[in-house]
């Protein structure tokens, strides 16, 4: 076991204006090593596999237990969280690149702010009257909770958007994550008061009609959200809403 190493290649880019280059590294193998620990090792000893001094890799990470949604990258071509990517399960050399559908910041860091803007457009919140004490909330049965809780597990990692063939600048498609939140808030007894406005926000260009049903999203989601079900349900509701709006004039 002595001196067993892990071979890693990382796509680096010093800034949006600089060219991208691949750099190779070797880090010491340990049982249970994941991609984020390997990135920490490189930071503590920033040299390439050929012994050339380099800079620590810039990357987003925070919780390291796949709940904050920060560390989504492409690992061997697949969009996934770096923290839950265990070295033992990966083919080497492990190739790590930034998500490709979002503006690059540096190295593995990208700007995923578009998702948070989309959540504003669909009013992804429950419009409560205020935070003063108004007594208990609406009664909800366990069966409803069991539908809503999985939708509420979305960690905003944007893996579903990265893998979607329809998600790009030209379509302006909102992506599966936002559509799932529309279903969640339309399901809520109080949240449903904004249902019509949310559905209208998803009609037209960039809305739910852009979905090509490739079903990549549901496979890529690290939290197993029922994304395709949500798209189907919301799609139907958007069509009904559009027809209603047309008939009402």
């Amino acid at each position: 076991m002595a001196n067993k190493t892990v071979k890693i290649e990382i796509k680096r880019q010093a800034s949006p204006e600089d060219p991208a280059v691949w750099e190779k590294y070797e880090v010491a193998y340990r049982v249970g090593l994941n991609v984020t620990s390997a990135l920490m090792d490189i930071a503590a000893n920033p040299v390439t596999a050929s012994g050339k001094p380099t800079t620590p890799v810039s990357y987003d990470s925070n919780c390291l237990e796949e709940i904050c949604g920060s560390c989504a990258v492409l690992i061997n071509g697949r969009a996934r969280m770096a923290c839950s990517a265990l070295i033992d399960t990966l083919e080497q050399p492990i190739k790590i690149a930034p998500l490709s559908k979002f503006p690059i910041v540096r190295d593995l860091q990208v700007d995923r702010g578009v998702l948070f803007e989309n959540l504003k457009k669909v009013q992804a919140w429950v419009p409560i009257d205020g935070t003063y004490d108004l007594g208990v909330g609406p009664r909800q049965y366990p069966q409803q909770q069991e539908v809503n809780y999985p939708l509420s597990n979305c960690i905003s990692c944007t893996c579903c958007m990265e893998v979607c063939p329809q998600f790009n600048i030209s379509t302006g498609f909102v992506g599966a994550a936002t559509i799932a939140q529309v279903k969640l808030f339309n399901n809520h007894p109080t949240g449903s008061v904004l249902k019509e406005e949310r559905l209208r926000a998803l009609a037209g260009d960039g809305g739910i009609q852009e979905c090509g049903y490739a079903q990549n999203c549901v496979k890529a989601c690290p939290k197993q959200l029922p994304l395709t079900n949500a798209i189907a349900d919301v799609s139907r509701d958007v069509i009904v809403q559009t027809v209603k709006d047309f008939l009402r004039g």
Binding site: M40, I67, L119, S152
Partner: protein, 591 residues
């Protein structure tokens, strides 16, 4: 006068709670966070949030919640704010429910509650085993609503560097650094609220997130804010040891019936499922028959250390014990604990539905933090604080599921009080000291980026974590803590020889980390020296050489103030408010 401007630093539960209250009252808020606020460390909280709603017919009351919290904290917490928190808690749960938190429900559609450590009541509301995530999202959504109405401006990807103090020592805003352009700027405000969470990074590996460095608290401490009870560090009994961090395995696993055990025979080679009941040592149940697996965390952690280090009964002779859920049916586990079982399976590769988990205690939480008064204001006028970064609610040991409540309640108190303060603040003279503070920060940055030495900040950080974890966690000796302090002093000296392998001025993460490291080192001294001073054992602070609680001498808050002198911070002791419950011996092994 114009609408007062309040700055909130940190977008976890405490920060978002403060923002919501201020926006609702018509104030203008600037919210600063290193990460997009939806990725804050609060998402890691798992098991639940405490409130004595008494929906299980047990006769639970807010007074019992108050008593459990004060007793669990070994009487070190000021009782007035704890009492107020416990009284406010049921209303806060209702509010969170109205905001859409998908709490687990009873068949009749009411909120479900489960048991947690340090109480005999079902008092913990929960959303699966990802309660922190669900609460944070609910508050994040309300803040996004205010943001879309123009009442809140977010500065995500900005790091707080310091407060701006005027010539009278009154806070007039903050300086912060854009983590992409590395630009340092002054942001004026009539009051600021610091909600920057935990300090896990000082101990190297912990259950905390990467951003939990305590850097902001330490910067303020170095600017004159008191830091209180720093020596009280909670080591959670059940964490999954890992290469990059110690992943939390929630107390709710035991709340739902999980049992902690080791084989009675040292280094028993048999697989756990084949070891008969009679040959298993359920040590928490034997030693603490009334509370069993749900004793408070400091007690459970010390018991696990005793079994492993003194009795030599760790699994396979290693530093691990079993946490067993495999006797509970799969559907119940999935409904109530799904999220945490998934974490174990993903990171360890073993299914905890079928096999006992292997766990060991890990650094988890700081009870200590910025000193604040009952209005949540620090000793620096205009600087408020809420959440884990302040010291007010948990005394010498925090009860499980009280942290989420203390964050939200603290934010709800700090927000309106900051607004009230800001409305009565006399106008500043000139720029309030902004230009001078920005110049000071730019100077620090310039020194750091041009420094020629051979010290790698990430390597130094690992050394800091190793020494703090070894000497300043579960079992403490003055000799060991003195060694730790000497090591930290050595690291502070070596910091002068720091060398950044990255000198660029764009999204330079090692540069930002090096700044945090300096602040971690200063705070590490405060934690350690507070531990040396306190010659007693109380809650999470355990000294075998001083095994008893000493109320006469140490029923006191430790207040540290920064001096910059080689001997470290000045420590003084302050009376604790014990006006409601007379301190009594804390014994979980008897009735």
């Amino acid at each position: 006068m114009a609408t007062p401007r309040i700055i909130v630093v940190g977008g976890g539960l405490a920060g978002l709670s403060a923002v919501i209250k201020i926006a609702e009252a018509g104030g203008a808020v600037d919210l600063f966070s290193i990460v997009p606020v939806k990725r804050s460390h609060s998402v890691c909280a798992q098991g639940g949030i405490n409130a004595a709603k008494n929906l299980k017919g047990e006769g639970d009351t807010t007074w019992k919640h108050f008593d459990d919290s004060v007793y669990g904290g070994d009487f070190l917490a000021n009782q007035t704010p704890v009492k107020q928190m416990c009284e406010a808690a049921p209303g806060i749960i209702d509010l969170l429910d109205r905001m859409g938190v998908p709490f687990n429900r009873t068949p009749e559609g009411m909120l479900d509650f489960r048991r947690f450590g340090g109480t005999l009541y079902n008092r913990t509301a929960f959303a699966g085993a990802t309660t922190g995530q669900q609460l944070l999202y609910a508050l994040d959504e309300q803040v996004r609503r205010y943001e879309s109405e123009g009442k809140v401006k977010k500065y995500e990807g900005w790091e707080f560097l310091s407060s701006i103090l005027d010539s009278k020592g009154v806070c007039r805003g903050i300086t912060a650094m854009d983590l992409r352009t590395m630009e340092v700027k002054a942001f004026p405000a009539e009051a600021i609220i610091i909600c920057t969470g935990g300090i896990g990074a000082i101990f190297g590996k912990s259950t905390n997130s990467v951003v939990c460095t305590g850097s902001a608290q330490s910067a303020l401490f170095q600017q004159g804010a008191y830091y209180a009870n720093g020596e009280f560090i909670q080591v959670h009994p059940t964490a999954i040891p890992g290469e990059d961090k110690l992943r939390l395995m929630s107390e709710s696993a035991r709340g739902e019936g999980g049992r902690v055990w080791v084989p009675r025979k040292p280094s028993d080679p048999r697989p756990p499922k084949s070891i008969p009941e009679s040959e298993r040592f359920y040590f928490l149940e034997e030693w603490y028959p009334k509370y069993g697996n749900l004793v408070p965390r400091d007690i459970a952690t010390r018991a696990i250390h005793r079994v492993v280090f003194q009795e030599g009964l760790g699994i396979d002779g290693q530093q691990m014990v079993y946490l067993d859920l495999s006797h509970i049916d799969r559907a119940t586990l999935d409904r109530k604990l799904g999220g945490i079982l998934e974490i174990y399976e993903k990171f360890v590769g073993v299914d905890p539905h079928d096999h006992p988990m292997k766990i060991f205690p890990g650094m988890h939480y700081t009870m200590g933090g910025l000193w604040i008064d009952f209005d949540q204001m620090t000793n620096i006028p205009g600087i408020f604080s809420a959440g884990e970064c302040e010291y007010q609610y948990h005394g010498a040991n925090r009860l499980g599921a009280n942290s989420l409540m203390s964050c939200i309640h603290g934010g709800f108190i700090a927000g309106p009080n900051a607004l009230k303060y800001a409305k009565n603040l006399p106008a500043q003279e000139g720029d309030g000291g902004a230009a001078q503070e920005v110049a000071r920060q730019i100077e620090i940055n310039k020194d750091l980026i041009t420094n020629q030495g051979n010290e790698n900040p990430f390597k130094m950080w690992r050394e800091l974590g190793d020494t703090m974890s070894e000497h300043v966690t579960v079992t403490r000796y003055n000799k060991g803590m003195k060694q730790a302090d000497e090591k930290v002093v050595e690291l502070i000296e070596r910091y002068k020889g720091i060398n950044l392998s990255d000198r660029s001025q764009w999204a330079n993460t090692s540069f930002a980390f090096a700044r945090q490291l300096k602040n971690m080192l200063e705070l590490a001294r405060t934690i350690t020296l507070g531990g040396i001073l306190r010659d007693e054992s109380r809650g999470a602070h355990y000294k075998p050489d001083f095994p008893d609680r000493n109320d006469e001498k140490f029923l006191k808050t430790t207040k540290a103030s920064f001096t910059g002198a080689p001997e470290g911070p000045k420590l003084e002791l302050e009376e604790v408010d014990t006006q409601y419950i007379v301190p009594r011996p804390r014994r979980y092994d008897s009735a």
